[in-house]
Structure formats: structure tokens, C-alpha cells
């Protein structure tokens, strides 16, 4: 099993949300900006709880923010 199979659209969603900054999103979900940077780079797969908190900020279901990349690599 490879690493970082969970991708996301956070960067695009932030841009669509009045160009929300990484720090603003970090404050809303209760993490540091470093974690948002790592998520956007695909360097970190978040916990389920954090994934739900991020999806809630954008008022979207989880699968519209995060996706599983396994099918793309097959």
C-alpha cells in the first residue's frame, strides 16, 4: 500500500471561498497552518475528525473535499 492515497481539493475550495487564507482555514478547524500546507501538498492524510471539520467549513460532504487516489493508480 502506497503513501498519501487520500487526495483533496482544499486549495481550490479555499480559492472559491472568497480566497480564504491557509491561516484562516487552520483557525476554523483548529490546526496550525503547517498542517494545512502539508494537506494541500498531499504530504499528510488527515484524521477522520479533521477531515469532517474541513468539509464542514466548506459546507460540503466529505467525498467532495477528499478522494481516494487508489483507482487513479491502477
Amino acid at each position: 500500500m502506497g503513501k498519501h492515497l487520500v487526495g483533496n481539493h482544499i486549495r481550490r475550495l479555499r480559492f472559491n471561498q472568497d480566497e480564504m487564507t491557509q491561516q484562516q482555514l487552520a483557525d476554523l478547524v483548529g490546526v496550525t497552518r503547517q498542517t494545512i500546507v502539508a494537506l494541500e501538498k498531499g504530504n499528510y492524510s488527515p484524521s477522520l475528525e479533521l477531515a469532517f471539520r474541513i468539509a464542514r467549513v466548506f459546507n460540503l460532504p466529505l467525498e467532495e473535499v477528499f478522494f481516494y487516489e487508489d483507482s487513479a493508480k491502477e
Binding site: V31, T32, Q34, T35, A38, G42, N43, Y44, L50
Partner: protein
């Protein structure tokens, strides 16, 4: 570069600086004499004072770093550790402890092989130093490359 990455770099260099300066100050004071009570007292005080000096110096350097970080970036440093910080801390500590255990076993090996007591203490102290530096290097690596 984010706050955590910069902090890991500062921590790494401050560990090296503190250890080198401390050794340069303390080593000439070695009384000599294998197994003498004075030599054992020297090594005991070497480790204890190094621990205290390292903690105090790290706190001072951390405060200075935070002030410089605020002045140069205009950002406030994070006041808490989130899930990524904790995960990286655990992974870095695991490697750091592993390095120290290798050093500890090497130090015990010198006693088995009838080496000087001084050699054992030097290996033990260097293992502590290397494990500290490796811990900072691994944190930087995980912050940059991901976990």
C-alpha cells in the same frame, strides 16, 4: 518555510552550539585518574550540568527565536501542537530514542571489553547529543517530506 520547520533548524543548531561550547569549557577540567572518586564526580557533574545548561539555553534560544519570528514575518507562533505536530514528534522521538539505545549498548560494550571508564562516559554523552540532533533532523524531514 513554516514556523515548525524553522524551529527544527534552530533547535538542531542550538543543540550543536550548546554541546560544543560546553565540551570546550568542561573537557580541560578533567581531573584524570581512572576510577578515582574525583573522576567519577567529574563525569556525574558533567552530565547533570549539561542537562541543566541545555534546558535553560533551549528555553532562552526559543524565546529569542519567537521574538525574531514575530518581527520578521508578522505572524504569531502556534501556541498548541495539533495532530500533525504530535505525530511528527512521536516519530522523531522513536528514532531519537533508538539512536540513544544504540549508544547506550555501545557504552556498556566498552565496559565488557575492559575499556577505560572514561570511554564509556564519552560514548554515553555523545549518544545523547547525537540522538538530540537526529530528533531535530527527523522533525525537519517529516515536516518537509510529510508523514
Amino acid at each position: 518555510m513554516t514556523y515548525q520547520e524553522k524551529k527544527s533548524i534552530v533547535s538542531m543548531f542550538s543543540s550543536i552550539l550548546i554541546f560544543v561550547v560546553y565540551c570546550l569549557y568542561m573537557y580541560p577540567k578533567y581531573p584524570g585518574g581512572e576510577l578515582s572518586s574525583e573522576a567519577l564526580r567529574y563525569w556525574g557533574s558533567f552530565v547533570l550540568i549539561l542537562t541543566v545548561v541545555t534546558i535553560i539555553a533551549h528555553i532562552i534560544i526559543s524565546i529569542i527565536f519567537n521574538i525574531i519570528f514575530r518581527m520578521t514575518t508578522g505572524e504569531k507562533e502556534p501556541t498548541f501542537a495539533d495532530e500533525l505536530d504530535k505525530l511528527i514528534e512521536m516519530k522523531a522521538n522513536r528514532i531519537s530514542f533508538f539512536m540513544f539505545i544504540i549508544g547506550f549498548l555501545l557504552a556498556m560494550g566498552t565496559l565488557v571489553m575492559n575499556e577505560q571508564l572514561q570511554t564509556m562516559f564519552i560514548i554515553l554523552i555523545i549518544a545523547g547529543f547525537i540522538s538530540d540532533v537526529i530528533g531535530s533532523v527527523m522533525k525537519l524531514y517529516y515536516y518537509r517530506k510529510g508523514v
